[in-house]
Symmetry: C2
């Protein structure tokens, strides 16, 4: 993709993200783009598809605890389609693939994508649910939703099933620690593995701190 | 302090903390108590003073970005005084020291306490602003206040002064990384030093992640 079109798309996308949810603001989008740039160093993928898909993949984003949450990806796909249709210089035959990548993006949907670009987008977005970044995002959501940091009786889910809408730390066990297994690309997996090690260090440190140490 | 009185005080305190602010809920109080237990293993301090001081030190807690925030400690001291005056079995001559410890508790006030108990409470509460716990608390507040996770142009305050009310990560540079220097007790300092090392690991990891790695 030429840099003029990329800049144009970035500027359109930037206006569409609110600053109300720091877990899904435009910095999240810029990080996903940055993850994509790392992954495509090792994969021959089409950036014409990947860049708009990354930029608009969260443009509609209902809160996690809202029943409409499951429609966010499909609604985002409709938005990106309309945006690209209005840009003359964007190749029309690639629009459907952008839509597809956006609509299957969320790991939560459980869809294994069948195009390389959709796989890369899913990996790049999945990486946002690992490492230091996922800790920031998890606890910002906990603050917004006013839920507990952890279950006081069993913080590390040793004897119970994780309940991430009740206890923020449970999301580690329900989702964050599993991201590495779901990555499709070699590079995505490699990054996820290092980030997962950091999550385990965080849990170890927290365990010590909860003992007053 | 006998365990019956301790349990009674815990139960009174528990009812006074709301679940609206996960950074200052009753689990925060329990962690401060736990930090105190670690510190008093190496310091001969009066738990009759320390336990109620810890339990009620945040009982009034105006939000960080509220102009009334600076009065929280003094208002908490008034509450604990009233509570203890109504408990017959609590030694009246110790009430003033509890009040004192609560009123000077916040590191932000910049007061160096002149009693051992007030020093220990300040250390135990200060430890909540270090380590994995401080990351959870910082980002939960960021979510509540809807502020940015970091400054996109200079996340690690390399070329600018930290502005913690604008960017959550700036709090590391404004406060969290400095806690270890402010501790009064040997044990408090030792714990803070280990926790600070973890904060530095978090920053190093985040720097790598922001590059898409």
């Amino acid at each position: 993709m030429n840099s003029k079109l990329k800049t144009k798309l970035i500027e359109i996308a930037r206006t569409k993200y609110s600053t109300d949810d720091p877990s899904h603001d435009f910095n999240h989008i810029l990080r996903v783009l940055s993850n994509i740039e790392s992954i495509v160093k090792e994969e021959k993928a089409d950036l014409d598809i990947l860049i708009p898909a990354a930029l608009f993949h969260d443009v509609v984003n209902h809160p996690k605890n809202d029943p409409k949450a499951k429609f966010s990806s499909d609604e985002s796909a409709i938005v990106v389609k309309k945006v690209l249709e209005n840009i003359k210089e964007y190749p029309r035959h690639k629009i459907a693939q952008v839509e597809y990548a956006v609509s299957v993006c969320s790991f939560n949907k459980g869809i294994v994508p069948n195009t390389l670009e959709a796989k890369i987008l899913q990996d790049a977005d999945g990486l946002e649910a690992t490492g230091a970044i996922s800790i920031m995002r998890t606890y910002a959501s906990a603050g917004q939703m006013k839920i507990n940091f952890y279950n006081q009786k069993d913080p590390f889910c040793k004897k119970r099933k994780p309940e991430a809408l009740q206890y923020a730390l449970d999301l580690f066990y329900q989702r964050l620690l599993k991201i590495k297994e779901r990555c499709h690309t070699k590079k995505g997996k490699k990054i996820a593995e290092r980030r997962t090690k950091f999550l385990l260090k965080f849990l170890k440190e927290l365990e010590q701190e909860l003992k007053g140490e």
